[in-house]
């Protein structure tokens, strides 16, 4: 979790990563002037669209102050999309690919009362790029 001093730009670094089933991912807020969350897209959390494998456990870190961390262990193969609550409308989202999901496409459920804004949808790195590179950083 990073941001510029004036808060004009905020982002997850990396924005895309591939991990193996059973691996843990830890987010740390490295932005000295802001709070961030890592929050999965799931109907159980703020009634958001499902953008993770059905049956996988959703997560929400709540606000992390600078220096604070939050961890999630991923056991189920698939594509997991997440966002930062106060910054989704600024395009602060990320994607984790666990294993080699088939088909390699994000799970997405249409018709949510709180759809994903276009600025966030356009920010997700392609699954194929994450599978090819392992780690994708913001352009």
């Amino acid at each position: 979790m990073r941001g510029k001093d004036d808060g004009a730009h905020v982002w997850f670094d990396p924005i895309g990563i591939r991990v193996s089933p059973g691996q843990m991912v830890r987010w740390t807020n490295r932005d000295p002037g802001n709070s961030h969350t890592t929050t999965s897209y799931h109907p159980a959390i703020f009634e958001r669209p499902l953008r993770m494998p059905p049956g996988a456990r959703p997560w929400n870190s709540d606000y992390l102050l600078p220096g604070q961390s939050f961890s999630v262990t991923f056991d189920r193969e698939g594509v997991y999309d997440y966002y930062c609550v106060p910054h989704e409308h600024a395009g602060m989202v990320g994607r984790i690919v666990v294993g080699m999901p088939t088909p390699p496409a994000p799970s997405a459920e249409a018709g949510s009362a709180n759809p994903v804004p276009e600025v966030a949808l356009s920010a997700f790195p392609p699954v194929e790029e994450i599978l090819a590179k392992g780690i994708v950083r913001r352009a």
Binding site: D5, D6, G7, N34, S35, L65, V85, P86, H87, H89
Partner: protein, 136 residues
Amino acid sequence: MKTIPIALTLMLAGSVPAFTQDVTKSPPPGAFKAVSSLVKLPDFLPGMGQLFVDPATLPAGPFLAYDHDGKLVSTVFMLPIKDLSPDKRFDDLAAPGGVVDHVSVYYNAGHPGVEEPHAHVVLWHVSKADEARVAK
């Protein structure tokens, strides 16, 4: 003749801004609360300082920003980008901080309390060089 000073006094009283309390030192009086006590944000924000706001004025503010010594450095207004439209106005925003040295306006992606992209309009009450007092 005695009615003239009385009338003048009444006119002057009517022209005094509603916000007359001294806010030059932290913490400001009245309904102002530390932003860090209202939402989960660091108490001191690099580049801005320690912020106080009357919650009733959110999201626009004014937010009052103080340096590490508790001296007022700026008054900040936070204006959601979506509200900068033909159908929305921000009028009569209080500006209790006194003399303004210069003004900065810049985009902010959002933060707890104003959780959407917005513009920071910063009325600096100190010189450009003294902005360093809240740099870190």
